[in-house]
């Protein structure tokens, strides 16, 4: 296939539809087969981008502005590859998970397929209305996955998530309408020079609305309120997909619009504000994570904190010297990749522990170290990445971010990053300490399948080894 791009969208749509045809709980094998092909396609596309530079694809053969274009540069290539790499072990994990815990499966497989189609379409889109449509599909599938999970708690969380995601896409759509009204086009390629030439007040309002809508979906402090109950209450494979990948999709859009189409509109004040919100997210999310009593809620609050790191990027890339900005951008993308791998591993490991002991209390984890050593090791490795210890991907990310901050003389952010790392170590160690205690009376460990343990371990070891292979990732990111 000359162009893998459209197939990355079509394949998940096809296997998700076939999985739905087969009914509730069916389609796991289809998902594994489909994702294997998608991984090959994403690798193919990444290789094409790395060797020939950014690629565009004209849907329908019309070309922008009449038709819709797809566009894949280095950043899109990294995210497409990351999505398939994280999702493949997760669907293998999910098959084993739902074999033990069939209650929550419902339409997990078709919803996951549509979710992946939406993510791939979003990363590839170069048209702001088309981006809105992919955001809608992504939001609804994510809400469906949370709602399918079970009792009243997850349904309540799903409903709140639905309202937030609709408000977010509504704000984004209002922005799209204003931009279209101003310039008469929705294609990013057409809009970029027009915005550069002249931007009336309406475009500033549009950019603000789109930013706020996307911040809601990314769950940046103070818009994080919906995330912990939704991510913490869903079944473990769903939590992993949502925390590792879905919040990154809206962040990717913010970054892409910030760097390219809306670059003439961005101001240092806005960048500093995003940085301060990121700092607040790191501190608040970490402190809340330390205070949680339930394991999955702790991991969900850790996502709130880790999302904060991504936003430290903006003060470092806006109106700073090019070398510092380049280093910070690399650090931000590495943080995104490392967190996706580590958080997927962590939720998967937590799911295995909960399946085995049937409980979610952190204080009742005694004995996990002897009964589930591999899973606990997985959790610890993922924790290493979150805390940013060498040689993990998280370490490289923080190193590059700190280089960016020192290169642009913004030492305050360095303090935030280092204290955030210490706080992450604190909440990870809290879990580990409990797990090393002896087995409490009344705790029974039921056996779990090896697939559960090894698929999570694979994700965690990738997050660790990412530190050693970071040049490949950064090389792909640089391809323009």
């Amino acid at each position: 296939m000359r162009d893998p791009a459209p197939w990355l969208i079509l394949f998940p749509l096809i296997w998700a539809s076939l999985a739905f045809l087969r009914g509730q709980g069916r389609g796991g094998r289809l998902a594994v087969a489909g994702l294997t092909i998608q991984l090959v396609l994403a690798a193919l596309l990444a290789e094409q981008i790395a060797s020939d530079g950014a690629r565009s694809y004209t849907v329908g053969g019309w070309g922008a502005p009449l038709g819709i274009d797809l566009y894949a540069d280095g950043l899109a290539g990294v995210l497409l590859l990351l999505t398939q790499i994280v999702a493949l072990p997760l669907v293998v994990y999910a098959r084993a998970y739902f074999a033990i815990h069939p209650d929550g499966i419902s339409y997990f497989w078709p919803l996951t397929g549509y979710l992946l189609a939406a993510m791939n379409a979003l990363f590839l889109s170069a048209d702001i209305f088309n981006i809105y449509v992919t955001l809608e599909l992504l939001g609804l599938t994510a809400v469906g996955l949370v709602a399918a999970g079970g009792g009243a708690g997850p349904v309540g969380a799903a409903l709140r998530y639905l309202l937030v995601t609709l408000l977010g896409s509504g704000a984004f759509l209002l922005g799209v309408a204003l931009v279209y009204g101003t310039y008469g086009s929705m294609s990013l390629q057409v809009l970029t020079p027009l915005i550069n030439a002249d931007a009336p007040a309406a475009v500033f309002i549009a950019a603000g609305l789109m930013l706020v809508g996307l911040l809601l979906k990314t769950a940046l402090f103070p818009f994080h309120f919906w995330l912990p109950p939704a991510h913490g209450g869903a079944p473990a494979p769903v939590s992993a997909l949502l925390s590792a990948l879905v919040v990154k999709a809206s962040f990717y859009l913010i970054l892409r619009l910030w760097l390219h189409a809306f670059a003439p509109l961005v101001t240092t004040v806005a960048a500093q504000l995003l940085g301060f919100l990121g700092m607040a997210a790191i501190l608040w999310g970490s402190v809340m994570a330390i205070r949680q009593t339930r394991l999955k809620m702790l991991i969900a609050y850790s996502t709130v904190a880790q999302v904060g790191y991504l936003f430290l990027l903006f003060p470092l890339i806006t109106d700073t010297n090019p070398a510092a900005a380049a280093s910070a951008l690399q650090g931000g993308v590495m943080q995104l990749v490392a967190h996706a791998l580590a958080k997927a591993a962590m939720f998967a490991a937590a799911g295995t522990i909960i399946l085995s002991i049937g409980r979610d209390d952190i204080t009742r984890l005694g004995g996990v170290s002897t009964r589930l050593p591999l899973t606990l090791f997985t959790f610890a490795l993922a924790g290493l990445t979150l805390a940013g210890l060498p040689p993990s991907g998280g370490f490289i990310a923080k190193w590059l971010l700190i280089t960016g901050a020192s290169g642009s003389d913004q030492w305050g952010w360095v303090v935030v990053m280092i204290s955030g790392g210490l706080l992450s170590a604190a909440y990870v160690c809290r879990v580990l300490r409990q797990a090393f205690l002896s087995i409490e009376a009344g705790t029974k460990f039921s056996p779990v399948s090896r697939v559960l343990e090894w698929s999570a371990f694979l994700l965690a070891s990738m997050s660790l080894l990412l530190g050693l292979r970071s040049t490949e990732v950064l090389g792909l990111l640089e391809s323009e």
Binding site: D3, P6, W7, L10, L13, I14, S17, L18, F20, L21, G23, Q24, Y57, T58, V59, G60, G61, W62, P65, L66, G67, I68, S106, Y107, P110, L111, Y114, A117, A118, A121, F129, N130, V133, T134, E136, L137, L140, T141, V143, G144, A147, A148, V155, L178, G181, T182, Y183, G184, S185, V190, L194, D198, P200, A201, A202, I205
Partner: protein
């Protein structure tokens, strides 16, 4: 506290509204006129109505994802509706409809007359979409409306689940659209949803026919699945 929050929301909305109003007042006229481009390429689109040309050809890819959004909304409802697992057991049949009270008899008579006409009109709207306002979405809305009317008149029981036939019906039209898109992308020198020359009109009609049937079921499902929950609630109260 709640009063302060409400006030804050109201003030924020007013500020946003005022800002939008002020920004719209001096909106420059855009230099790109998509309507002209649509008109210029209309002959190549396979249909003569510009809206259909945009929805199914120029921006057909948006429509492909948009119908998936509707479908995912249906799956979301099914995950809730099918939670009571009694409906999934093979032997379960919905209870027979009770004899209608007198006031429903008129409605039933009316529904029996109207529904065939609604189906006929849906077929016409689908066909008309090629050259005037109409098309798959409108036709599907009418089909779903017919389903709602039958349910309200007590002629069609509420849906509690989607069995294999219903699942097939609700996805086939969408899947056909996806497969048609895949075929165009796989064609030599073809692009995603680039209809081969001369085939555009026929393919659009086929895709719209499939979409009408599937979207009709999906939209009807939105009402009929909720209607099952409503009648469930009243049962427990009695």
């Amino acid at each position: 506290m709640k009063g302060v929050l409400d006030l804050l929301v109201i003030v924020l909305c007013l500020v946003l509204g005022a800002a939008l109003w002020w920004a719209m007042l001096d909106l420059p006229s855009s230099r790109i006129h998509l309507a002209e481009q649509v008109a210029a390429k209309l002959d190549a689109s396979g249909v003569t109505h510009p809206v259909t040309a945009v929805l199914l050809n120029f921006r057909g890819y948006d429509t492909l994802i948009e119908v998936m959004v509707l479908f995912v909304a249906l799956i979301g409802m099914l995950t809730q509706a099918e939670k009571g697992s009694q409906w999934l057991s093979a032997g379960y049949r919905p209870p027979p409809l009770p004899a209608p009270p007198f006031h429903l008899e008129v409605l039933q008579w009316l529904a029996r007359v109207l529904v065939p006409l609604m189906i006929l009109t849906a077929g016409y709207l689908l066909w008309a979409g090629a050259h005037r306002a109409g098309g798959a979405f409108q036709a599907a809305a009418l089909l779903a409306g017919a389903g709602v009317l039958l349910n309200l008149a007590g002629l069609l029981p509420a849906w509690t689940t989607f069995r294999a036939g219903m699942r097939a019906g609700s996805i086939t039209g969408l899947l056909f659209f996806v497969l048609a898109a895949a075929a165009t992308a796989a064609a030599p020198h073809g692009h995603l949803l680039q209809y081969p020359a001369g085939w555009a009109g026929m393919l659009i009609l086929l895709i719209e026919t499939g979409l009408t049937l599937s979207l009709g079921l999906i939209l009807a499902g939105f009402f009929l699945l909720l209607s099952a929950e409503a009648s469930d609630g009243s049962d427990t109260e009695e």
